[in-house]
Amino acid sequence: MSETAQVLAEGRTEVKNTTCYMCACRCGIRVHLRDGEVRYIQGNPDHPLNKGVICAKGSSGIMKQYSPARLTKPLKRKEGALRGDAQFEEISWEEAFSTLEERLSNIRATDPKKFALFTGRDQMQALTGLFAKNFGTPNYAAHGGFCSVNMAAGMIYTIGGSFWEFGGPDLERAKLFVMIGTAEDHHSNPLKIELSKFKRNGGRFISINPVRTGYSAIADEWIPIKPGTDGALLLAITHEIIKTGLYDRDFLLQYSNSAELVNLDENSSEYGMFVRAEVPEEEGCFDPQNKLWWDRNSNKAVVCRTKGADPRLLGEFQLEDGTPVKPGFQLLKERVDQYTPEWAANITGIPAETIKRLAHEMGITARDEKIELPIAWTDVWDNEHQSVTGNPVAFHAMRGLAAHSNGFQTIRALSILMSILGTIDRPGGFRHKAPFPRPIPPCPKTPTGPEDVKPNTPLGGMPLGWPADPDDLFVDDKGEPVRIDKGFSWEHPLSVHGMMHNAITNAWRQDPYPIDTLLIFMANMAWNSTMNTDEVRNMLNDKDENGEYKIPFLVVADAFQSEMVAYADLVLPDTTYLERHDVMSMLDRPISEYDGPVDSVRIPVVPPKGECKPFQEVLIELGSRLKLPAFTREDGSRKFRDYPDFVTNFETAPGSGIGFLAGWRGKSGEKGMKGEANPDQWKMYEKNNCVYHYELPKSYQYMRNWNQGYLQWAQEHSLTRYDEPINIHIYSEVLQKFRLAAQGKSQGKQPPEHLRKRVETYFDPLPFYFEPLEGQLSDKHKYPLNAVTQRPMAMYHSWDSQNAWLRQIHTYNFLYVHPQTAKSAGIEDEGWMWVESMHGKVRCLCRYSEAVEPGTVWTWNAVGKASGAWNLDGSANESKQGFLLNHVISEELPANEAGEHISNSDPVTGQAGWYDVRVRIYPAGPDEEKVTFPQYDTMPAVPGTPKRRPWQNYFAGLFTRKGEF
């Protein structure tokens, strides 16, 4: 009998449930083990998110588990070695912890902001944010700022919810689905499942994208568009819909601020604000219902929602005191009057007739294909409805729209289009997922000044929050930033996810101040997770005149030998997802469904490799050693044994009954969402596919912004503070407040002089189109092309494409160029070429493609690696033929009137403008080396990484034991 046959016959097999983390989708998985090795990772058929399916990454989890890039020991940089050389020596965890304890306790006792913690993952923020807050540092963020914060902010500041974890398209009931820009990374498996059903049910799928890849491949119609011009398209569609009367008037009247009257007295300090009736304004982060409507029946202003009133959406009126006013919708109409389809055609490259047809398809489908579900519900104004109705036009967008410096206003335009079509939290349109909808903006706020950062004291506010007006900004009395990334300052006031992409550059420049210790978790800031990669690598290695590193101490926590690890002074080896406890928490980024809250857990299925320790355990240990209040009893002793114990027993406030997990709370697990700690909570998750799903009654599943039953339930279960209606902000008073400050018309915080014009311009209460900032500052004759990236499906949202199987699918990347564009530059198909921006240049391989708009070039992101990183051999294709476009993308704009070192980001939210870069292309010379540029010295394998096999036969039960057979 062969060895494999013997193992097949006699191997000890087990099946364990946990949650995937090969990307950010977080599908339920069943891990089959044989003799302790992973034999098969199956999609869990009983899991609400993926319903049994699994993707290419999830199926390759085995190769992650047994990767030679695994870090297995704590390491410190060798004495005398430079950062970047990756010369390390093994140390004990005790040494690692005591080094950190000593350094961090000194920082905390003197100036806590000198410790900065940035994490590449958003989905552990409940813990990482708690740690930062308790430490007392303002310098904390996750990766949202360089991912898709424009999507979150643009939608949440408009409709109180956003795409992905917090909401999405209802493809089960939609008839028309429009996907704009690259959006596939987010919620990929659920979207694939739904898209396929949608198409089979005869739905029409339109994709608007410069490139036809991803899901666009199966679209019924592909509409190529020039990058960064989506806002122009959306505003022109809105123009056409309003012009032809295809908007949902009833929906806008009832559920948005469209009919509310805006003060247009230019001499008033209230200019551009809604007029309030004489009803005392209530405290809190919600819209009091004290605005005015113009009633068509009485032809005068009445308090909004007065019974029997029929408000006007259009027109201009005068209040009794002579104040000129217009409804918000009139202002929207006036705004989009200029945005004709013909105007947009020139900007977007989409013919005007196509834009009109798109508008008509959306409007007519919304109006004439109405859905009515026999579900009775009651709104917050006590009106009883016998049914739930919906307009079946659904949208999805993420990074394609978000990663432009005009993305916030573009996404405001999208949210408004979705709203005028009447599709918010209704069947067939956009649906929220708990804990959303939340007030506009949500309640949490950051501290507001440097006095909130004090030694040995928790931060006086949340590390990240949702500014509602200028006084919420985190700035000093001169209006200058308090955070190292300059988040929540006048440069980027609504940077609600922070600005990780500027953290290293600012720390290096010591602007606004020097820091001491930078802790990076699971973020490859020396490669694909940073802009301006080449320079950032230099900054990490740069020393001052005394020979000290400008960023004095650099700690990297990661499971793999990434490019970033090479720069660490201290390396903390993290586990894989199969080796640890984890929570997908309601306090963080849960995996809720449209029908109600869902959270889930990971439970280890194999023991940690070597000395790997889950990063959560590192934080619990450090929190205990530093005696941070959340992790310590009053007598100073350690409060939590370990991370699972923390998850079981932590409460947001003593007796709140709210913890990291919503399921099986109460002493014996009898309570959901809220209740005392349950010592057996983990076991109950384990027995239930690692997932808790609270299905709301049908009458609470729709119209949640205004659904009395839902809002009261959400308040009772502490998802929201209020049960007040969350009306759609067609006209944004929040933005107008910042504009008034910039104009010097309001009393509170004021921007520094050099930023007044910038804030006044971009904080427009109505969406508008402007060319992305980098484009405005570029020589477009010299750099005529746009350059963008996408990720291939086998690597969506994943951070370890060195995987032995996945790298056989994508071993290196080409720059895709339309044949005419390439030929006119003299570049051959599969030939070597240069792509150059004003910031830098890269040599790469060209591939002709008919599936790209001729003014755009693009590539798969993050396939290219630095030589030797991820424990790939120095000759690996990833480093010799693969390339990273990041080298030509800058983290800062050229000096301009807003300042010398302004982030290359959206001026409202600080979203990184990845897709704004302008480039030119030309052939590489015949004598040039046939490798990509830049090249780096090969990173050596660090101590403790497993042996790199020259070949492998993976067979569970034999692999680590024998390897060769």
Partner: protein, 241 residues
């Protein structure tokens, strides 16, 4: 006679490669495994995969289609790989039509891969035997699995349910109905191999708009048209007596 096969719906396949690696992970640790990987961490990695996805561009901009095309052994009814095999290793099972290779009999002569017009055989350079898709024959009859899971790993994994599995000789089966009703076709039928696997073509949903749909009595703009102020201009009403 039963003929098991896959029917692959190109109308919904997004080219995600889930079928590729789920096949690899199931089969590498099963009776058909291990599936060799050569140079897994150096230059030009290559390995044995029973299932691969090719991507094509069709047409010229802007009328470009991007087509993802998953390919694995088609389990031909008249399989040219079988008669050329000198040892009988390559064989077609009479009970279910699955084409298999008996590794113990295979001498690695590669005649079968030359005979296969679809290029769907994978030579294992380490074991020196020919390997290929087995339709997960070790899953589909395994009574220890729940019935819903007695399917090839690729079928279970596929996020868009683009892969249907069943008996193409049973006219009532899901696969036969799909082939009949949704234009299922075989690859290169002119070669007479009678591939058992079929593909379902792309289908388009269009919307046609009639002009009158843009003109409606309930157009909400009409609600806003009523003037609420008396005109100050002189009108015919002031003149006509």
């Amino acid at each position: 006679m039963t003929q098991l096969a896959l029917v692959i719906d190109l109308n919904v396949c997004v080219g995600c490669h889930a079928c590729v690696t789920s096949c690899k992970q199931w089969n590498t640790s099963g009776p058909a495994g291990p599936l060799f990987d050569d140079n897994p961490f150096t230059k030009d990695p290559t390995g044995t995969f029973f299932n691969r996805v090719q991507t094509f561009e069709v047409g010229e901009f802007p009328n470009t289609e991007t087509l993802h095309f998953p390919k694995s052994c088609l389990h031909c009814e008249d399989a040219p790989c079988v008669p050329v095999c000198p040892t009988g290793a390559s064989h077609k099972r009479s009970e279910d039509g699955i084409v298999l290779v008996d590794y113990d009999k295979c001498i690695g002569c590669k005649y079968c891969s030359w005979a296969c017009p679809y290029g769907m055989r994978e030579f294992d350079e380490h074991q020196k035997v020919m390997k290929k898709c087995t339709l997960c024959v070790d899953r589909i009859y395994d009574e220890s699995l729940p019935e819903s899971e007695r399917k090839p790993a690729c079928v279970l994994a596929c996020p868009t349910s683009a892969r249907l599995f069943g008996d193409v000789h049973d006219s009532d089966s899901e696969v036969s109905v799909a082939i009949r009703e949704r234009g299922g076709y075989q690859l290169m039928p002119e070669w007479g191999t009678k591939p058992a696997n079929h593909y379902l073509p792309r289908r388009k949903t269009n919307m046609s708009i009639h002009e009158d749909e843009l003109v409606r009595v309930d157009n909400p703009l009409k609600k806003e048209d009523i003037r609420h102020e008396t005109s100050k201009n002189v009108s015919l009403d002031d003149w006509l007596m």
